[in-house]
């Protein structure tokens, strides 16, 4: 089998499409659209290929490609993907493809629009797979800059004048105008970039100035004082893009003014770059600094969640409502990140994915409504479900995901974040999260009612055709993703979880874990439980008694009293994370099959650090006695080396 350099393909496809777009004459509108769609679709296919080829058993960074750029400064175009990258690539591929589909009918300077849009996306894709700090930053800037032009040229201005004593403020700054929005967004993000640049340079030089390789820089033990002042720079620098309070104010104006596809991309993917940067650069490369600042990060995130939701509730402009809801939901991402727990980080990455899809759907829908109704003013709408049932349906799906209804992707993410918060040192962080979700329920349902339900539509809206063709396609893809990843979260959670575990062990060995539960009782026979945990996509898991289990009735499974189970006490020196991955049902005869069952990155850690007699202990059913609640504290240091890089293609 020939392995293609999938990461390069994924990242380069939009770039190449941009180049192809340039010579097309302005009159060939269909050709331009098709080229743009092709570029986006190739990225999506690439992302799917990465999803497919990423080996879950092996874990760590995979599909690596290295192309030296400036060897003297140690700058290399290092591309590799981990479990997080896989899910975020997938998200970006979905959003850009649907984004192009949703703006299919754009009527003004299509070529420039699509060229800028695709350039932006190439930057986003690059950030998620870059393993070189310089390249990371380069891609980041590529992703941020085209936004100015995209909003200032193709954006829309809010035409509803604000009344009241503060009218002059609106006039003075032209608030609601697209130029104002574009300017504010760009300036704020660039100030953030300046912070990041300082931090990157500081890390580069503190590490000896030899290389920008993130795995090298990440394993460096920086001076605690240095970390303490670098982390806020990274947090606020990237955090500005992630909408961290109080640096989120570019977001409502920016998203409200931006054209449909740009809002979709910006809220759907770009804001995730910010949060990704905070976690990837800030928390993972400056762990002690992060530990020091984490209370502040968490509190600010909690403010984000509630404050964003409350602000959204008071808005009357449809786009502002969605934009503020993004601020609130990105707060959930940051809250999850700040918990420094397995659940919190899983949830944060999952929320990036879920919110990306959901907000992409929302902005696509809002764009549709705006295009037809020529207004974003909610109080003037009503009864749109009559003429546009499809739009109403998808808006409801998006809304239900937004308020965290189980069965939609939003729930999975929020639930894990809340769980992580509850486990963390600041358990109360879970409360603002739950309050935020509740407020979201109020305003989202109110929007659905005000826009789509009730009598109407009034006579001023005489022509409201429903979603058609490519628009419909975009809605279906996004809506289906919300449901699919809500119903079966392990489709990407199986990628995220082991990756989180490896990273988290590195930065916070004392992160709390859930008490271990012997699983053999619960899983309808040994079938499911005896399967290795991380071996495949998860869908292929047998749904019933597995091999070696007699088919038919199993007397009273799941109801066996815990106390009746045999179980030697857990050896307290066991490495962290060993226990959870080891269902007791694996024990008999499982020894050869154990390796795949272990979390990725465990294997190297085990060999040198394992106490003698460990292996037999693991081969026996390892479980807690009924009285033992909390996990024994880890006695061994966490995995000393990061997961190995497995090159599969590209130039070495």
């Amino acid at each position: 089998m020939i392995t293609l350099p999938w990461l390069s393909i994924t990242v380069a496809a939009p770039f190449i499409a941009t180049l192809l777009l340039l010579p097309i004459p302005q009159t060939q509108k269909l050709a331009m659209r098709l080229v743009a769609l092709l570029g986006a679709a190739v990225s999506l296919v690439g992302a799917l290929a990465v999803y497919h080829y990423y080996d879950l058993q092996q874990g760590g960074l995979q599909l690596a490609e290295n192309y030296p750029l400036v060897p003297k400064l140690g700058i290399t175009l290092r591309l590799a993907v981990d479990g997080w990258g896989v899910s975020l690539l997938l998200l970006t591929g979905i959003i850009i493809t649907t984004g192009v589909m949703a703006t299919w009918t754009l009527k003004d300077r299509e070529k420039e629009f699509f060229a800028l849009l695709l350039t932006l996306v190439a930057g986003v894709l690059g950030v998620f797979v870059a393993q070189d700090l310089f390249v990371f930053f380069l891609f980041y800037e590529i992703a941020v800059l085209p936004m100015y032009v995209l909003i200032a040229v193709w954006g829309s201005s809010n035409k509803v004048a604000e009344a009241g004593p503060f009218k002059f403020v609106w006039k003075m700054f032209d608030i609601g105008g697209k130029e104002y929005a574009a300017m504010k967004l760009t300036i704020m993000l660039l100030v953030g970039s300046a912070f990041i640049l300082v931090a990157i340079m500081a890390m580069f030089f503190a590490a000896g100035g030899e290389t920008f390789d993130m795995s090298v820089l990440g394993n460096m033990k920086y001076d605690l004082e240095l970390q303490k002042w670098l982390f806020p720079l990274v947090w606020l620098g990237f955090g500005t893009l992630a909408g961290v309070f109080p640096f989120h104010t570019w977001s409502p104006d920016g998203h409200a003014s931006a054209p449909t596809a740009v809002s979709m991309l910006h809220a759907g993917v770009l804001m995730k770059l910010g949060a990704f940067g905070v976690i990837r650069i800030g928390m993972m490369m400056l762990p002690e600094g992060a530990q020091f600042w984490i209370p502040v990060v968490g509190v600010v995130a909690a403010i984000n969640v509630v404050y964003g939701a409350l602000s959204a509730m008071a808005q009357k402009d449809l786009k502002y409502i969605i934009a503020y809801s993004s601020v609130s939901h990105m707060g959930v991402v940051m809250l999850g990140a700040a918990t420094l727990t397995q659940g919190g980080w899983n949830g944060a990455i999952y929320q990036m994915f879920a919110h990306g899809i959901m907000t992409g759907l929302f902005f696509a829908l809002v764009g549709l409504v705006y295009e037809r109704a020529h207004t974003r003013w909610v109080p003037s709408m009503g009864g749109f479900a009559g003429p546009m049932p499809i739009v109403a349906l998808f808006f409801t799906i998006g809304g239900l995901s937004s308020l965290g209804l189980p069965g939609t992707a939003g729930f999975v993410a929020e639930f894990m974040v809340f769980l992580g918060a509850w486990q963390s040192k600041s358990a109360w962080w879970a409360l603002p999260g739950i309050i935020g979700a509740f407020i979201t329920a109020i305003y989202v349902l109110r929007v659905v009612r005000d826009v789509f339900w009730g009598p109407g539509p009034s006579a001023e809206f005489h022509d409201l055709p429903d979603a058609r063709r490519t628009e419909l396609g975009a809605l279906i893809v996004l809506g289906a993703c919300i449901l699919i990843f809500g119903i079966w979260p392990r489709l990407i959670l199986d990628y995220i979880d082991p990756c989180t575990k490896t990273y988290l062990a590195k930065i916070d060995p004392s992160a709390p874990t859930l008490p271990f539960v012997p699983q053999q009782a619960g899983f309808g026979g040994a079938g499911a439980a005896a399967m290795p945990m991380h071996n495949s996509m998860g869908l292929g898991r047998p749904f019933g008694p597995g091999p070696g289990q007699p088919p038919g009735m199993l007397p009273n499974p799941g109801m066996m009293p815990r106390a009746a189970m045999p179980g030697p006490d857990m050896p307290s020196g066991m490495p962290r994370g060993m226990q959870p991955g080891m269902p007791p049902a694996m024990a008999p005869g499982m020894a050869p099959g154990m390796a795949p069952g272990m979390a990725p990155g465990m294997a190297p850690a085990m060999a040198p650090g394992m106490a003698p007699g460990m292996a037999p202990a693991m081969a026996r059913p390892a479980m807690l006695g009924p009285g033992a609640m909390p996990m024994p504290p880890p006695g061994l240091p966490p995995s000393p080396s990061p997961a190995g890089v497995a090159p599969t293609g590209g130039v070495q």
């Binding site: 700054f173 109110r446 009730g454 392990r490 699983q519 026979g525 019933g544 009735m553 959870p580 009924p626």
Partner: protein, 604 residues
């Protein structure tokens, strides 16, 4: 895989497949009637399977089967199970749900015959989704899946209450129902988190300390209060009557609102360890039962009477569970599901005939709608606890349990409720079916066969289920022995007395002072005090901070950014003046600077 498990999975897959089919093939959905028939066929299959499973379990009551896989992972550890769990409890609940759902779907075919095909298709899509969600809840192997089903039935309830979405009242009621229950569900999320952190999973029988059990049970009970409409979170249920009447029968009387009770039965290992929570349950349930029964005596809308009656009966169940009678609470859930669904569907037939919910548009309908009237009267008698009918047996179990628990307040309130229930149901029967015929009742038309058949089916358990209490109890592994104590005789006396009194007052017009006596209490209870209270909580806790946040964001936070921008511009404009463009000015500056430097150097 065991065929039983396969069949159980089919009860999930069939309605889910229907929903998906209607969702992705709009052409089919928009045909209306064919889609409805397809959905009813699916419900019939589910009913058949549920019946078969139930029959199997009657033969082998202690059997317990499970097939599940995990839904989430947390650091490689499986978390949360999805699949099906079959035991006496889930199998019997499945049969209840399937029966009522089948009856309601069939009934809807007649009830919504005036609906345009598009709307009918949408309605049956929601119905299929509900059946799936409810089965998911019932068959849950642990609390995680129960929660998923729990929220999904809530969402379906939102969609079905808002089925006539152009009607502002329906839109408002839908949101209210969703938001109130969602608010309560925060308790369930928190409970799940506490449980997971304490035990590493969501098992019913998770090994947790009694103190933790109190916390978890307390949090779970908050959600139960929302879903099962217990005071003070009952406010959404009466409004939910804006939905089509069959929906009220299925969701807001028989199954969905009973999910709270089902949760307590399922999570019994947690609840039985939580002594204080259970004591609170006994009090709150009894209070809600009495409170709602009082309100029901003054309603003029037939659906509202039944809605408050549902609140009241759910209070009964909760109180019984609190007193420790698992069987009593659960058996009352079962009998109530049947007779309340019967009452609602019969009321639906009446409403369909006279096109109104109000008593003033009814009266004397016995002549026009004989079968409906008989069904309704039997339902009422069962609800009133007339000996021999199903409601009597289940109610008696609860009363005995509360009596044994020694909670005098609860016992007194529940007994009083028993009398009141008989009273208001008699009033309803009299106002609907007896007495003077109103104008619209003159033109009433009888229901079609698709509406009478479900009534007939539901009539059977309404009458006879009480006699099957023995076999039913074996599904629980609990002994059941019928015996009448003092409490039982009191309840019978109160029930019969209530009926007699109701007939005296409303049928014969005697004792006219009595309704007047009731009036002040009921007016107070019936007024929108609770609604207004919650409304002001919402305004103070939601609207005001929301406006404050939006204002702060625009003028303070954003104002700060704008101020920085403005400052930059102003400073730039001022500094620009330094660049005059005159060579002389620049030379002055150069020489001046040189002189200053020289001075500075000399001074040092």
């Amino acid at each position: 895989m065991s065929p039983l498990l396969m069949a159980a999975l089919a009860t999930l897959a069939i309605p889910a497949g229907m929903t998906l089919l209607f969702g992705v093939v709009p052409m089919l959905r928009r045909t209306g009637k064919p889609a409805a028939i397809l959905s009813i066929l699916a419900a019939t299959t589910v009913l058949g399977i549920a019946g078969w499973l139930f029959a199997t379990w009657l033969g082998n009551p202690t059997e317990s089967l499970q097939i599940a896989t995990y839904w989430l992972t947390m650091g490689g550890q499986p978390l949360g199970q999805v699949g099906v769990h079959l035991d006496g409890i889930s199998v019997s609940m499945l049969l209840v749900v399937a029966t009522v759902a089948w009856c309601v779907q069939l009934f809807s075919l007649g009830y919504l015959s005036d609906e345009p095909p598009n709307g009918l298709g949408r309605y049956f899509t929601y119905q299929s989704l509900f059946l799936f969600s409810m089965n998911l809840l019932v068959l849950a192997p642990d609390l995680m899946q129960l929660f998923i089903g729990w929220e999904l039935v809530g969402a379906t309830s939102y969609l079905l209450i808002g089925f006539w979405y152009p009607k502002p009242a329906a839109a408002k009621a839908a949101i209210k129902a969703f938001v109130v229950t969602k608010f309560a569900d925060s308790g369930l999320i928190l409970g799940l988190m506490v449980l997971a952190v304490a035990s590493g999973g969501f098992a019913w029988d998770a090994p947790i300390t009694p103190a933790t059990a109190e916390i978890v049970a307390g949090l779970l009970f908050v959600a139960v209060m929302g879903k099962s409409a217990q005071f003070p979170l009952h406010i959404w249920l009466p409004d939910a009557m804006q939905g089509p009447t069959p929906v009220s029968a299925l969701l807001h009387a028989a199954t969905m609102v009973a999910a709270g009770v089902y949760l307590i039965v399922r999570a019994d290992p947690i609840f039985s360890a939580a002594v204080h929570v259970r004591e609170f349950m006994t009090y709150l349930g009894a209070f809600t039962a009495l409170f709602a029964a009082i309100i029901a005596t003054v309603q003029t809308d037939i659906k509202k009477v039944l809605a408050y009656s549902t609140c009241s009966q759910l209070g009964y169940m909760i109180s019984g569970l609190g007193a420790g009678s698992l069987l009593g609470g659960y058996f009352h859930l079962t009998t109530h599901a049947f007779f309340k669904a019967l009452l609602f569907l019969a009321a639906g037939a009446v409403i369909h005939a006279v096109h109104s919910n109000e008593f003033t548009d009814m009266g004397g309908l016995f002549k026009k709608l004989k079968f409906v009237a008989i069904a309704f009267i039997f339902g009422s008698l069962s609800l009133a606890g007339v000996p021999g009918l199903a409601g009597f047996y289940s109610k008696d179990l609860i009363l005995e349990a509360v009596h044994e628990s020694g909670n005098h307040f609860a016992l007194f309130a529940l007994l009083l409720t028993a009398g009141l229930t008989a009273f208001y149901m008699t009033r309803t029967v009299v106002k609907t079916f007896l007495g003077q015929m109103s104008h619209s009742a003159e033109h009433a038309h009888g229901p079609g066969p698709s509406m009478t058949l479900p009534l007939l089916v539901l009539l059977v358990p309404t009458i006879a289920l009480g006699w099957a209490a023995g076999p039913f109890a074996t599904l629980f592994g609990k002994p059941y022995e019928f015996h009448m104590g003092l409490v039982g005789y009191t309840a019978i006396a109160l029930g019969l007395g209530g009926i007699a009194l109701g007939y005296l007052v409303y049928g014969l017009g005697a004792l006219a002072f009595l309704p007047r006596l009731f009036k002040p209490v009921a007016t107070l209870a019936n007024s929108s005090v609770m609604d207004e209270l919650w409304q002001s909580v919402y305004e103070i806790g939601g609207q005001t901070p929301s406006r404050a946040a939006a204002w702060t964001d625009r003028y303070i936070v954003d104002g700060l950014m704008n101020f920085i921008g403005w400052l930059t511009i102003v400073l730039g404009q001022q500094l620009r003046k330094l660049q005059t463009g005159d060579v002389q000015d620049y030379l002055y500056a150069v020489f001046g600077a040189a002189a200053l430097l020289a001075l500075f150097g000399g001074w040092r």
